[in-house]
């Protein structure tokens, strides 16, 4: 196959839905063979739409896309032979048994008769459904159904596997098992995997590279580490006392913004997020900048940038609400007291 080592080649793809919604707006990227590639983005960003284009289910309104060197519009049938697709919505027949769902999948993907049975047993074992294999799917729990769905996507060991939020609704243990298997598949079967997820830890530990997509266009694409590095060292997150006058706050922000160590200050949920290169080192400078102003800080938190911050930086939205624990607040308070005393 003439894919030049690229499993996916998306070139300036646009999708406008009949209603006029522009779901994708000139997206381009490449995924080399055997990479696990993560697609992150808030709800409605266009992730599923992109996967639908790559799985030949939706013709793009503009641009070109190739899977394993085959055009997704002109060469639909051959593209489909190369792929496995676990859609965001469950796609299993709940009136059949788990076993029959897998048999159907093996048949639809033209698997050789001889390998069907061992392969079915293998994936059943993997997703922990061996014992329930002969029960009808409508007697399964939600998580069991999702596991079966994933098993269906894996059974024919496709060259490229599309997983649209594969671990949504699964317990942590199963999620880790699935990750483990996804990694193993990539190594043993030389599979390329494109997955979307809303779990940052999943993207961080699983994906070699990540693309962040928002409102139909690509915002960033790189390895998780590079993305975090690009964001700079860290964040100082702070809140002013409720009693603080807005003029004083503005004055404070103004003086902070003048400082060299401050890259950017954003406001989110009443919290100010100050971007700097090393939040721990720069904390004294932060307090210096506020010195002399009649302002009480309610709380200050230090944070090294996580993938969440990268996501937030590029999309302006947070994937999950993070609640800061009581302990964390206390810890920061005491460290602030310590800092005050030493000065």
């Amino acid at each position: 196959m003439h894919n030049n080592g690229e499993m996916i080649n998306v070139n300036n793809i646009s999708v406008v839905y009949p209603g006029g919604i522009k779901a994708l707006d000139g997206v381009s990227f490449k995924v080399p063979e055997q990479e696990i590639f993560g697609l992150l983005g808030p709800n409605g960003a266009g992730k599923t739409t992109l996967i639908m284009v790559l799985t030949t289910l939706l013709a793009p309104t503009g641009g070109k896309a190739q899977v394993n060197g085959l055009d997704v519009v002109k060469d639909k049938n051959r593209v489909r032979l190369n792929l496995g697709y676990v859609s965001q919505e469950l796609a299993i027949d709940d009136e059949l048994s788990g076993m029959d769902n897998l048999k159907l999948q093996a048949g639809l993907y033209h698997m050789e008769k001889a390998i069907r049975k061992p392969r079915i047993e293998e994936v059943l074992d993997l997703v922990g459904l061996s014992e329930r294999a002969h029960d009808r799917v409508d007697t399964y729990s939600g998580g069991m159904r999702k596991r079966l769905d994933i098993a269906c996507g894996l059974i024919h060991r496709p060259g490229i596997l599309f997983l649209d939020e594969p671990t949504l609704g699964l317990d942590i243990q199963t999620r880790h098992e699935i990750w483990h298997y996804i990694n193993r598949l990539r190594e043993e079967v030389k599979m390329t995997i494109l997955l979307t997820t809303h779990y940052m830890d999943e993207a961080d530990s699983l994906c070699r590279r990540i693309a962040i997509i928002d409102q139909g266009s690509l915002k960033a694409i790189d390895t998780p580490d590079n993305l975090k590095k690009q964001l700079g060292g860290g964040l100082i997150i702070f809140q002013f006392d409720q009693a603080a006058a807005s003029s004083t706050i503005n004055q404070a922000l103004g003086s902070l913004n003048e400082k060299e160590f401050v890259k950017e200050i954003t406001l989110k949920n009443g919290e100010y997020r100050l971007l700097t290169d090393n939040s721990e080192e720069k904390l004294p400078l932060f307090f210096d900048a506020l010195d002399g102003l009649k302002l009480n800080l309610k709380k200050v938190t230090l944070k090294m940038p996580s993938l969440d911050d990268v996501f937030l930086y590029y999309t302006g939205r947070q994937l999950r609400d993070e609640s800061v624990s009581r302990e964390q607040i206390d810890r920061v308070r005491s460290s602030m007291r310590r800092l005050r005393k030493t000065r």
């Binding site: 289910l57 796609a91 299993i92 993907y109 033209h110």
Partner: protein, 264 residues
């Protein structure tokens, strides 16, 4: 692997799934058995009174209305099995299962082909039950076992035509309710303007004209001759030929719709 082989294999697995589902639906199997019983026993015995009257008996052209009814009931059950069969596409779409079928390496027409094949098999199963039931009620085919076999083929062909219509509609219709109302709108007039349940001689002239060109009439007539009068080759030939032609036309429509249009 050629596309045709992929298509046939795909159709086989779609067929296999539909049959598996059917076997799992005890209630559906039961109803498919009970329905003809109700038609035959209730309607049949009620209408049998008609033939007590010499005038109506002459109109029907036979002194046993039940024998007249059996082919009609067979065709009715074939019609309904076929014409509601397309609903499975709507359910597949709702379940998200259609996505799986559409992204699989099988041509799209094989989805339709597999479903049609499964509906044909269910129809043949139901028709066999009706034959058995009729036999228990004292009605035998004058053409014997070969006649019964040919009858089952005609029923299957008729159901295939009806399922093509249903699949064609369901490709664009998104809710079962809409499909039901469209189908009722189409089939009720078709049934009552056909010779399935009433002899055409008993109808007003203008309905007689419709009945003449009604596809149900063309399917019923050969079966009726196989039950009542014997090997009437010209009726058989006309009926079979027309049914086959209709199947080819409607399957081409479905083929085109599935291959070229969006199913999601």
């Amino acid at each position: 692997m050629t596309t045709l082989v992929m298509g046939l294999k795909g159709a086989y697995y779609i067929f296999w799934r539909e049959i598996k589902r059917f076997m799992g639906q005890k209630m559906r199997i039961l109803m498919s058995l009970v329905q003809p019983v109700i038609w035959l026993v209730l309607m049949g015995s009620m209408m049998a009174r008609l033939t007590d009257n010499p005038v109506t008996a002459e109109m029907i052209g036979i002194d046993n209305y039940l024998a007249f009814m059996v082919p009609g009931v067979m065709m009715m059950s074939s019609l309904y099995t076929g014409v509601f069969g397309g609903i499975s596409i709507i359910w597949d779409r709702r379940m998200g299962f259609l996505i799986k079928l559409l992204s699989a390496p099988i041509p799209r027409y094989s989805i339709a082909l597999g479903k049609i094949a499964a509906l044909v098999l269910q129809t043949i199963f139901q028709a066999s039950v009706i034959v058995l039931l009729a036999f228990m009620m004292g009605i035998t085919f004058v053409t014997g076992l070969p006649g019964i076999m040919l009858t089952l083929v005609i029923c299957g062909l008729f159901a295939a035509i009806m399922s093509c219509i249903s699949l064609f509609l369901s490709a664009s219709i998104r809710t079962p309710e809409t499909l039901f109302s469209v189908i009722n709108f189409l089939t009720l007039p078709l049934v009552f303007s056909s010779s399935a349940l009433f002899p055409t001689a008993a109808m007003p002239d203008w309905i007689q004209v419709i009945a003449r060109f009604n596809p149900i009439s063309y399917a019923v007539a050969p079966v009726r001759s196989l039950v009542i009068s014997g090997w009437d080759w010209s009726t058989l030939f006309t009926g079979m030929w027309l049914l086959l032609l209709m199947f080819l036309v409607f399957f081409s429509l479905v083929y085109y719709r599935f291959e070229k249009g969006s199913l999601l």
